[in-house]
Amino acid sequence: MDGEELTEQETALYDRQIRVWGADAQRRLSKAHILVCGMKGTIAEFCKNIVLAGIGSLTLVDDRVVTEEALSANFLIPLDENVYAGKTLAELCCDSLKDFNPMVRVSVEKDCSSQVTYQASVENFIVSLMLLWYPAVPSLLRDSCGEIFVDLQLHTYSKKKLEETIECQLQYSSFEEAISVPWKILPRKVSKLYFALRVIERFEEAEGRNPGEVSIADLPSVLKLKKELCDEHSLNESHIPDALLERLVSSTREFPPVCAILGGILGQEVIKGISGKGDPLKNFFFFDAMDGKGLIEDISNSAGS
C-alpha cells in the first residue's frame, strides 16, 4: 500500500507470522504507534505480544512504584530490589520490553491524565483507536476472570471469504454508550460477568474508590447495590450470582495464566485492528478460568454485528 518493502531482517524475524497475516499487514504494524497506560499483568503480556509482533513504537505510562502485587503478576518486573528500587513500573517494563524486539521503539511518558487514548496510526488513511483505559475501566482482570472492551469507532477492514477478499465496515459504540444499554433488552444468555463487573464498577464509583479497591468486607453493600440495579433495570437477580460477586470482591489480584490469555486475545485484536485484516472482536470479551469459556458479547447501541 505504501510501496515500502520489509527489510531482510524483518522478513527473517517475522517469517512465521507473515505467513499468518501477510506482508502488507506486517508493514502496517511497523508503522503503528501505541500508547499504553497502567502496567498491570495483563497489559504487560499484551505489550510483550505487540512488541514481538513488530509494531513501530510503544509508549508506556505508569508512575506507580513496584508493589508485591505487581511482582506477582507482571512478569516484566525484575525481582531484584536493587534493580527495581526507585523506578516506576513504566520504566521497568520499558527496559524489559526493549529486549524482546530491538526493532520496536519503546519509551516512557510521564502522564497522569486519567483517561488516555491509544492511537495506533497507520501511515496514510486508517486511524484505529483502541481504548484501554485506566483507571476508568481497570476491571480488566480480577482473580481468575477478566473482560476486554473494544471500540474501533468506524472500522473498515478486509477479510477472506471463501476464495475472495471482501471489504467490511463496523460501527462500534463507546464504552459509555455500551454500558448504558438497558439490561433488560440484552439477550438472556449474556455473560454474567458483564453484569457483575458493572455492579462493582458502580460501587467503586459511588464510594470514591480506586478500581480494585474493594474487599470482602464490602460484599454486603455490593449485594445491596446489585439488588437496586437489578430492580432499576428490571433484570432478574439470578443473572448476577452472589457467588460471582463474592469472588470479584475477595480477590482482586491478577492470576498470571489468565493475564497471558487476556493479553493474547487483546494483542490479537490490536493487531487485527491495525492491519485492517480479519473480523475484529465486537465488542466485549469475557474469560473465566472457572468454566474455561472465552466469550464474545456484542453490547452496543448500534445494530447487531
Binding site: V20, A23, A73, E163
Partner: protein, 632 residues
C-alpha cells in the same frame, strides 16, 4: 517446543503455590528440547534473543526463566525426547508432563510413556490462530491416541512424476526428485525419469543425462539438465496418448525459447559472488538482483534462477554435492526448488508461486504468532494447576478458534472416557490385511510398526518366536538373523506368518504392546492402497448420520471448525516398489484441532444452574452423542 508456557508456569507458581505450600514442596522442572534457536523463532519464543541464535533452546530457556524466578529448580536436557534415557522410570518422577512438541511421532511416544508411567499429560498445539489444550489421565480420560490423528497428505507417485495438477505436486517433484537427483545421494533410486511407452530407453542412457561430464561448462550442463527435465521428459510423457485423454497436455519448455544467450552477463554476476566466502550467503536471487521473496516470478525469471542456482551449487558448493538434502533454511536450495517447481508448473498450466510461498510448502513451515501461543500457554498452566491439585472434575479440553462458534473464542469441553477400541490405551487388537506371500517383514516393520503404530524400538513376536527386535545388547548372530528375516516374505519366516495368525509388536521403551491379527488378501487397489496393506480395528465411536464433515484443506470453514493448514506431504510408493520415495516428517501443524472434527457431539459445560446445557450440533464441532464423558 514452545517456551511461553514455561514462562507462565513460573510466574504463576510464585503467586499460586505460595498459598498451597503444604501440598507442593519444592517445585522442580525439567525441559527437554533437541532444537537450537533460529531467527524465525524469535517472533514468539520470547525467552530467546538474537544473540542466542544457534544455542540450545533447553539451556537458554532455563537461564531465561531463572532470571525471572531464581528460586526454581530447572534442569535442561538438550536431547531428543525419544532417547532411551527418557524411559518409564524417568517419567515416573513427575507429577505432570506438559507437551509443546511439533510432531506427531514424538507426541505419541510421550503419550505412551505417560500411560506406562501413569503420569498425567497436558498436550497442546497451535497453528496460526488455532490451538488447543487437552488433558490425558490414564484410565480416566482418552489418551492422546484414542482419537486417530489425521494421516498426512500423500500423493500417488504418478501424480508427482507425470500428471501434476497442483503446485504442491510440482514442489514435491522439484524437491524429492530433481533436487535429490542432482545434489543428493547418487545411489538412491529415483523416479525422476518418466517411463515412456517405448521400453527400449535403457536406464544407462538416461543416467548419463544428469551426470556432469568432466570439464563440461557449468552453464551448458545446466541448460542440458533444464532441457531434459522440462523439454525432453515432457515430450516423452506426451507420447503416452492414454495419459492425456482427459487431461490438459503439458507444454515442453526448452531453455533456448525462454532465455537468450545470457552467458556473459551471468559471468559478470558470478564475479561479484566470489567475494563471499560463507556458503550460506550464496544466493541466485542476490546474484541476479532479485530482492523480494514475495514476488511471483515469470517463466523467464524462474529459468534464470534455476540455471544460476545450479551453477552456484557446482561452483561454490561442489563438495556438498552428493550429500545434500533439502533444508528449508538453505537459501540456495529453496531458490532452486522454487524455480524448478515453477517451471514445471508453467509447463502444466498450474499457477506459479513466490519463493516465500514455495518455501512454506517445501519446508512444511507452520505459521505461528505470539498471541495464540500466549493464550494456549495460559490455558496449559490452568490445566496443569488443576492436575497438581487433583481437581479432577474440572479438567477441560480447551479449543481456541479463529471464528467464534456460539459466541465462543475459547471452548472448553469435558474430557471423554477412554476409547474402548484404542489400540494404545485399551489394548484392542488390530487387524492387518496383507499379502503374506508378497509382503516382506521389512515392509511390515517400516510401514505398519514404525510409521503407523509409531513405535521407535520395536520387537515383533509370533507366539513365542522372536521375529525381529532392535537393541544395543544384541549379539551378532541375532542381528544377522533379524536382518535376514526382514528380507523374507511373511509366509516364509522361520515362524510362518499366514492368514489367521497373530503378531505381537512391542516397544519396550514406550512400554506399549499391541496385538495384530493377520488376514491374507491377494489384491490391493494401486491408488487407494498403494502400500499393499490395510490396518484396521480402531475407530472412534459410531458417528451420527449426516454429521459427517470432511474438512477441505483449502481453508477454514465458516463455522468454528479449526482446520489444519495444508503443510505436510508424502509420497506413497506404488505397489510393487519397495522403496519409499520420500519421508517427510509428519508435520501435524502442532494443532490437533482436527481431532474435534471427528463426528461427535460435545457438551460444553455451562456453569449456570438455570441455563440449559449448551449442545453444539454436528455443524459446529462435529461430535456425535455416543461418546461418554468420563466418570471420576
Amino acid at each position: 517446543m514452545e517456551m511461553n508456557y514455561l514462562q507462565s508456569a513460573m510466574t504463576c507458581e510464585r503467586f499460586h503455590f505460595s498459598s498451597a505450600r503444604d501440598k507442593v514442596d519444592l517445585l522442580s522442572h525439567l525441559i527437554i528440547d533437541m532444537d537450537t534457536i533460529e531467527v524465525s523463532n524469535l517472533n514468539r519464543q520470547f525467552l530467546f534473543r538474537q544473540s542466542h541464535v544457534g544455542l540450545s533452546k533447553a539451556r537458554v530457556a532455563r537461564d531465561a526463566v531463572l532470571r525471572f524466578r531464581p528460586q526454581i529448580s530447572i534442569t535442561p536436557y538438550h536431547a531428543n525426547v525419544k532417547d532411551s534415557n527418557f524411559n518409564v522410570d524417568f517419567f515416573k518422577q513427575f507429577n505432570v508432563v506438559l507437551n509443546g512438541l511439533d510432531n506427531l511421532d514424538a507426541r505419541r511416544h510421550v503419550n505412551r510413556l505417560c500411560l506406562a508411567a501413569d503420569v498425567p499429560l497436558v498436550e497442546s498445539g497451535t497453528t496460526g490462530f488455532l490451538g488447543q489444550v487437552t488433558v490425558h489421565i490414564k484410565g480416566k480420560t482418552e489418551c492422546y491416541e484414542c482419537q486417530p490423528k489425521p494421516a498426512p497428505k500423500t500423493y500417488p507417485v504418478c501424480t508427482i512424476t507425470s500428471t501434476p495438477t497442483k503446485f504442491v505436486h510440482c514442489i514435491v517433484w522439484a524437491k524429492d526428485l530433481l533436487f535429490a537427483k542432482l545434489f543428493g545421494d547418487k545411489n538412491q533410486e529415483n523416479d525422476l525419469n518418466v517411463r515412456s511407452s517405448d521400453a527400449s530407453s535403457s536406464s544407462n542412457h538416461v543416467e548419463d543425462v544428469f551426470e556432469r561430464r568432466n570439464d563440461e561448462d557449468i552453464e551448458q550442463y545446466g541448460r542440458r539438465v533444464y532441457d531434459h527435465v522440462f523439454g525432453y521428459n515432457i515430450e516423452v510423457a506426451l507420447s503416452n496418448e492414454e495419459t492425456w485423454k482427459n487431461r490438459n497436455r503439458p507444454k515442453p519448455i526448452y531453455s533456448r525459447d525462454v532465455l537468450d544467450n545470457e552467458l556473459t552477463r551471468q559471468n559478470g554476476n558470478m564475479d561479484k559472488n566470489c567475494s563471499t566466502n560463507c556458503p550460506s550467503s550464496v544466493s541466485a536471487m542476490a546474484a541476479l538482483g532479485m530482492k523480494n521473496p514475495q514476488d511471483i516470478w515469470g517463466l523467464m525469471e524462474n529459468s534464470r534462477i534455476f540455471l544460476e542456482a545450479l551453477k552456484l551449487f557446482f561452483s561454490k558448493r561442489e563438495e556438498e554435492i552428493g550429500n545434500l538434502t533439502f533444508d528449508k533454511d538453505d537459501q540456495l536450495a529453496v531458490e532452486f526448488v522454487t524455480a524448478a517447481a515453477n517451471i514445471r508448473a508453467a509447463s502444466f498450466g498450474i499457477p506459479l508461486h513466490s519463493l516465500f510461498e514455495a518455501k512454506g510448502i517445501a519446508g512444511n513451515i507452520v505459521h505461528a504468532v505470539a498471541t495464540t501461543n500466549a493464550v494456549i500457554a495460559g490455558l496449559i498452566v490452568i490445566e496443569a494447576i488443576k492436575v497438581l491439585q487433583n481437581d479432577t472434575k474440572n479438567y477441560r479440553m480447551t479449543y481456541c478458534v479463529e471464528h467464534p462458534a456460539r459466541k465462543m473464542l475459547l471452548m472448553p469441553v469435558e474430557p471423554f472416557e477412554p476409547n474402548k477400541s484404542c489400540y494404545v490405551c485399551s489394548e484392542t487388537p488390530l487387524l492387518l490385511e496383507i499379502n503374506t506371500h508378497r509382503a516382506k517383514l521389512r515392509d511390515f516393520v517400516d510401514k505398519i510398526v514404525k510409521a503407523t503404530l509409531g513405535m521407535n524400538l520395536p520387537l515383533i513376536m509370533h507366539g513365542s518366536a522372536l521375529l525381529y527386535e532392535v537393541g544395543d545388547d544384541l549379539d551378532e548372530a541375532m542381528v544377522a538373523n533379524y536382518a535376514a528375516n526382514l528380507e523374507k516374505v511373511l509366509s516364509e519366516l522361520p515362524s510362518p506368518v499366514t492368514g489367521g495368525t497373530m503378531l505381537t509388536v512391542e516397544d519396550l521403551q514406550q512400554e506399549f504392546s499391541c496385538n495384530i491379527n493377520i488376514k491374507h488378501r491377494e489384491e490391493f487397489d494401486e491408488e487407494k492402497e498403494p502400500d499393499g496393506m490395510v490396518l484396521s480395528g480402531w475407530a472412534p465411536p459410531p458417528t451420527v448420520e449426516g454429521a459427517n464433515k470432511t474438512i477441505d484443506n483449502a481453508g477454514s470453514t465458516s463455522e468454528a471448525l479449526p482446520v489444519e493448514a495444508e503443510k505436510s506431504e508424502e509420497i506413497e510408493t506404488a505397489p510393487g516398489k519397495k522403496r519409499k520415495l520420500i519421508e517427510v516428517s509428519k508435520n501435524d501443524g502442532t494443532s490437533n484441532a482436527e481431532e474435534i472434527k471427528k463426528n461427535e457431539k460435545l457438551q460444553v459445560l455451562d456453569d449456570d444452574d438455570d441455563d440449559d446445557l449448551v449442545i453444539l450440533d454436528g455443524g459446529d464441532l462435529g461430535f456425535s452423542p455416543s461418546k461418554k464423558k468420563c466418570q471420576w
